[in-house]
């Protein structure tokens, strides 16, 4: 876990802290996106945790693992952040201080979907899975679902009346789980569907849990407490909006 960054010097309240991904495909895409918006990120060392925006002073860039960005903003360790909407949706808490300001920054597009083995010719929809959960329960088996997104998965399955299942939370690749024999189906990200096909999996028709792309999120409470931060934030939004209109 990253160390708490909330106990910084007194000038900290005048610096806007923007947290962005340090790993995965989102790392480069976020840097490219900011650059397109006229906000180049200067990272003094490739392994450093912080950086600066060349064009707006008083903005500090913090690099974090994608999975941790939402909770950093939620906890108030950073004022704003750029993260995949899927990650935000997974870790968000109702009524918390963190909110999505721009949900569609236009990069990192993917979808979190329910996928079952291709061989399940009788399963086309979530209703089929609901039915299957009952059949498994009646025959003393548990329908096992592998995912990196336990919270979204649980809610989505319940909403579609799939009530009886065993969730196995993986941190590595999820797609091979059914053919390796430790899951019956999966809930995972897909962009083109190719990896799913390679693993003999197919999407369930109404099984899109969430459509995702890069999103700008913010801690409402922190921003409302500082005029300077609000001003900096508005400047960033202005640049993003200008780019989006191009």
């Amino acid at each position: 876990m990253a160390k708490s960054m909330s106990n910084l010097s007194s000038s900290a309240s005048e610096i806007l802290r923007l947290v962005i991904p340090s790993d995965g495909a989102m790392y480069q895409e976020t840097l490219d996106f900011l650059a397109e918006c006229g906000m180049h990120v200067r990272r003094p060392s490739a392994r450093g945790y912080t950086g600066k925006l060349t064009s707006i002073s008083s903005v500090e860039i913090v690099f974090q693992r994608t999975a941790d960005i939402s909770s950093r903003v939620e906890a108030g360790d950073a004022d704003i952040g750029i993260v995949g909407y899927d990650r935000f949706a997974e870790s968000r808490i109702d009524d918390s201080d963190a909110a999505v300001v721009i949900p569609n920054l236009g990069f990192g597009k993917c979808a979190l979907v329910v996928a079952v083995p291709e061989s399940w010719v009788d399963v086309e929809s979530m209703s089929d899975l609901a039915d299957l959960a009952v059949i498994f329960q009646e025959t003393n088996r548990e329908l096992r679902v592998a995912t990196k997104y336990p919270s979204l998965t649980r809610k989505f399955l319940y909403r579609h009346d799939v009530n009886y299942f065993l969730l196995s939370v993986l941190s590595g690749t999820v797609e091979p789980a059914p053919s390796m024999g430790y899951a019956d189906f999966i809930v995972d990200l897909t962009a083109s569907g190719q990896t799913l096909r390679e693993n003999h999996l197919k999407q369930v028709a109404d099984g899109t849990v969430v459509q995702s792309e890069g999103a700008l999120i913010a801690n409402r409470r922190l921003l409302s407490q500082s005029d300077k931060k609000t001003e900096l934030f508005q400047e960033i939004i202005k640049r993003i909006e200008a780019q989006r209109l191009v």
Partner: protein, 465 residues
């Protein structure tokens, strides 16, 4: 996150007061108090509840790695205790319980108070009537007026749908979606859409195949389908066998022929919604409806015997609504279901209700199936309905006394307080050895009528506030 009960002290006193009164009311009818654990394995609740309840539960992994949940209701726990042999005694067994239950609901406290009762091992209409009458009378006994009881019957509706030729699966689907039908055309469109995804309305794509599979013997069809796709079954099957997959596929194909029945069933459900009303009137309309759909009149026998049995109780002041389209947690109810309504409660949780759940005991591991019926009241909502002149205090409250003394005389003060308590007074000790003025002020704020100042010699001076 709505974790804290945000009720006032007054509300808490009301809730605890009606809890005691209702419990006595149930005990007088042979219902014995039983307490259940607040924390249970999650699968206990998942086995019977619908997705609606499952998604509102407070669930977490305990230190041993087991999935556990704060109880979202009592019935499952009572049944679990019966199945495991903890509830002893001859049948029928009558149990009452009360306490906190936990369900997430945006804008409301996640914790709320319920009191309820379960009648295990009695399946007659007299048993149904006992529970419904007791639920209603329990509200009357604490002075609540103006509530109605909406009564439905899961068994009867299922049988009506079966008479139309609907498969069990399609029937369950439709019953679960009845609330949507109430929302008019938009709801209807939604139902049709999910029905077609569920494979209950013929999409046209497979209709020839569907016809062929209906005409051929099962064994031959299995062989044929296996020939078509069996070899194409690459990769993982999960825990399923190819036979299992193909036979469910065939079952789905066969059900595509349900489309016409399904439309008729939807019409029937719409009419059921429309005819809800006072039992005598609604019952007559049901007879007409049954004729129109060629449903034998005797499907309504359970309803008739229920109302006969309910007639033994004085229900004159409580309007009843017979509404066969009412649905509550149909995942486990099998017979009579009922909901208590009051026009003054427009938002938040229901006042209460219950129903018959004859299959649950077996589903939770019971060796034999056992008829069972129960209900629960949501105490905070019940408290909201209490009349303004509700007399909070059950018994006359004894006089309250503040016993105060100098530090050196604390031992005498304690002795005096203990003596007063033994005599039945409420006596609290002034731990701060206040002077006369601040003791009087404190007593006034606490609604204490008498101050007793104890001297070192044990002598007591009384002061009335």
């Amino acid at each position: 996150m709505n974790l804290l009960p945000n009720s006032s002290q007054q509300q808490q006193r009301l809730v605890s007061d009606i809890n005691i009164r209702l419990r006595k009311f149930f005990e007088r009818r042979g219902y014995e108090l039983f307490s259940t654990s607040m924390l249970e394995r999650t699968d206990l609740y998942l086995k019977k509840s619908g997705g609606e309840l499952a998604s509102r539960m407070y669930s977490f992994t305990d230190p041993s790695g087991a999935e556990v949940s704060m109880r979202p209701e009592f019935t499952s726990s009572v049944v679990k205790n019966y199945v495991s042999g903890l509830l002893k005694g001859p049948l029928p067994q009558r149990w009452t319980y009360s306490g906190s239950v936990f369900r997430y609901e945006p804008g409301f406290s996640g914790e709320f108070q319920q009191i309820g009762a379960e009648l295990l091992g009695a399946g007659s209409s007299d048993a149904d009537a006992e529970i419904v009458a007791m639920a209603s009378q329990s509200l009357s006994t604490i002075g609540i007026r103006g509530h109605k009881i909406r009564i439905g019957h899961m068994g009867v509706v299922s049988e009506m749908l079966e008479c139309l030729g609907l498969s069990k699966r399609a029937g369950v689907f439709l019953l679960r979606n009845i609330p949507q039908l109430r929302t008019g055309e938009a709801g209807l469109a939604q139902i049709r859409e999910s029905a077609s995804r569920f494979g209950l309305l013929s999409s046209g794509n497979n209709s020839d195949l569907a016809r062929i599979t209906r005409e051929m013997p099962q064994q031959d069809v299995m062989q044929m389908i296996k020939g078509f796709i069996g070899d194409g079954m690459h990769g993982a099957l999960g825990q399923r066998t190819s036979e299992e997959i193909i036979s469910r596929y065939l079952e789905k194909l066969r059900e595509e022929g349900q489309a016409e029945f399904f439309d008729i069933a939807i019409e029937l459900c719409k009419e059921l919604i429309a005819l809800a009303g006072p039992p005598l009137v609604a019952r007559k309309k049901l007879t007409k409806l049954a004729k129109a759909y060629s449903i034998p009149e005797n499907v309504f026998d359970p309803i008739d015997s229920f109302f006969d049995s309910l007639g033994h109780y004085d229900m004159k002041n409580v309007p009843l609504i017979l509404d066969l389209a009412s649905a509550r947690g149909i995942a486990y109810y099998t017979g009579i279901i009922f909901d208590i309504e009051n026009p003054r409660i427009k938002i938040g949780r229901s006042i209460g209700g219950g129903g018959r759940y004859d299959g649950l005991i077996e589903a939770l591991g019971g060796k034999k199936s056992l008829p069972a019926m129960g209900f629960a009241l949501n105490l905070e909502q019940v408290a909201n309905l209490l009349p303004k002149d509700y007399d909070l205090d059950l018994e006359e409250t004894p006089a309250k006394i503040l016993v105060t003394a100098q530090e050196t005389a604390m031992s005498e003060a304690v002795a005096t307080a203990e003596r007063l308590r033994a005599q039945g007074f409420f006596a609290e000790i002034d731990l701060e050895c206040k002077d006369d003025a601040s003791a009087a002020k404190y007593a006034k704020q606490r609604d204490i009528q008498t101050i007793m100042r104890v001297g070192q010699d044990g002598q007591v001076n009384e002061q009335f506030i």
